[in-house]
Amino acid sequence: MRARWAWTITVIILVGIMFSYTQDELRTTSVLSFSLRYAIPLIIAAMVGLVCERSGVINIGIEGQLLMSAFAGFFGAAATGSLIIGTLFGIGTGLIMGAVFATGAVAWKMDQIISGTIINIIATGLTSFFYAQGQVLPASTPVVAIPYLKDLPLVGPVLFNNGLFTYAAIIIVIFLQIMLFLTIWGLRTRAVGENPSAADTSGINVQRTRFINVTLAGGLAGVAGAYLSLEAAGTFERGFTAGRGFTALAIMIFGAWNPVGAFAAALFFGLTQGVASQLQADEVVDIPPQFINMLPYVLTIVLLAVVAGRVRPPAAVGKPYEKD
């Protein structure tokens, strides 16, 4: 039932996009590009939540992980003068934050919500304290156009003329979809998230699986954070992740804990934001910008209210694993 709904909505949206493309090529392309840019960090951050929750760990510290790695990415790049080193700083910081969270939530079996909150508080504190004004990036991230594909109508300029992070996000989604449902890692990870005691008695090390997955997911948060400061904004401000880590969790739920589903959900979020901004810029609708900026948060609440109870989270999510 849910799948049919999802398909119906997707088809309606696609038809709408085609129609709008025949009416106004330029605007459509620009709205879609905006939507994709908006969606990318949400997609990657949703993958962080997804890998953690599929392993049975609720990660509400994504927000903090994003903030820390955006910070490290930006100042790393500004200090060393290299975007690549900045990116590596971001990913490294993400991995460390992931490992710190895993230490609390998995190894020490702390309450997962509290562990995540600690991550968020640490991140806000550190990034605000060490924040310095007047830093600039050495360069803006390169845009890579893929030959031939970029010349396709509509999809060419939207999908195949982007920064590297955008391609990375798409690859990550497909990679995770395959990993989760076709590989041994995926089967074991899902088993650990559904019934850890069954996994344990089948000879799978539950704690190790969770620790590794949560840490690696932190690395993904590093990618998303680096994208935010290095490619999307080109700068860093205090608290500038603006709740994306939490929105990502909503997207993960809306996508029913499926990578491709979450990808579609994030695009839907982006599209809503893109269309609203465009309508406002064209003065088609006269809405104060504050309301436009509210949109992702309102949408999060509405969608969660609609979806809640219809999708089923991994059964063991949120519970530290105790033998017996």
């Binding site: 590989t183 089967l187 559904e194 069954a198 089948s202 000879g203 033998k323």
Partner: protein
Amino acid sequence: MDDELVLEVTGLTKRFPGVVANEDVSLTVHKGEIVALLGENGAGKSTLVKMIYGLYRPDEGEIRIKGETVRLSGPREAIRRGVGMVHQHFQLVPVFTVAENVILGNEPRKLSFIEKRKAIKEVTALAEKNGMAVDPKALVRDLPVGAQQRVEILKALYRRADILIMDEPTAVLTPQETDELLKTMKGFAANGVAVIFITHKLREVLAIADKIEVLRSGKVVGTTTPAEADQAKLAQMMVGRSVLLSVEKSTSSPKEIVLDVVGLSSDSDIGLPAVREVNLTVRSGEIVGIAGVEGNGQRELVEALTGIRKSTATKFAINDENAIGADPHEIHSMHVGHVPEDREKDGLVGQYSIANNMVLNRFDEPEFSRRGIRNMDAVNGLATKLVKEFDVRTPSIKTPANSLSGGNKQKVVIARELSANPSLLIASQPTRGVDVGSIEFIHSQIISARDNGAAVLLVSAELDEVLGLSDRILVMYDGEIVAELESADADRAEIGRLMAGGHAVMAEESSHG
């Protein structure tokens, strides 16, 4: 049976804080042998097999598997050495398919990818070879309990287990499924698999074991064979004193009607009719037993009668008081005691102390609280008295309920419900997972409640229990009461046939009672 020794355990000791779970336990198992581990709950059977399976590490002693002394680091190593275990609480992932559950941890692989088709083929072949029908592509959550257990067994066989541990495998099965399983286990033994079979059902032990090891308080107190032992002797070895296996009770003298139900219907969790137009009366001073294969509406009926589940009825009265639409608290205050089927889930709060569990549904009564302040002296006083009276074996009344053994947990529930002197007691599976000694005790408590004038409605999947305790027997099938029998003229085979959906030969018109 072969002479080859596959498992040798010597001097195994395991201590937990405050208890010695196993003390100097020794055991040998040969190839193709079925060894039954018999003992009361808390006798240390599970601890012993968990050490053999690598889940616990022994404090002292030695485990030799196929002649090699091992120090198992965990289940993975035990599995590698050919030890398989069928757990009492199934270790399955409900949203996975049968095949996925079976291969989990030992997946057929190409690079890192699972070879799904190969997995399905292997599982199908394995199931066929062992005469166990399952669809490898079915989701485990859609399967009945018996089939889930087959998946659990296949899991062990898939890992080439030649020492198969089965922890109370028949506790969750219907009589038919049990017979099927016992046959399957004999088949394994014939194929050279050594089976370690934990149970406290004496009949099963005598039916299939080659050797019986009896455990009591963590020690092996005797080794025997079915040829040398009978039920009475085994029970005595388990408990350490002679036990009355059959229930002794005087004839009932039913008085006024306490529970009066006409046309009660209720739906299952998924909204299908589960109880259909049931008519039922229970009088003061009698025990009415409901026999039936589990899943025929008994659970829904009990929940409807205790106000937990919504129901419709033409008449539903307790002591002439209308109970239609009453919630569990209102029903409780009509002097109804309820021993729920799932004590862990519905009968106790595991983290609470025994004392708090003893007043779980009465803590707000004037005796135990005044103006919102609890009177702990009264609570503790009652708890101390009940623990003694009902022989709950616990270090203290402050002990959390979930650290007790199954039998002692059940005694806490029974003590709480009976201490309120209910005029109606609804007891569902009162001795499920309870050891022989406690069963005897619980049965005698139920009978004395009857003799003191309580009306008792007993629901049990154990036909012997229904036959032994009841003054009147109702058979439930597909949500309906299909027959009513006086216990005097109840015949085991006849009831079995009725439980399986056979039509009543005896008069059905009296089902209103």
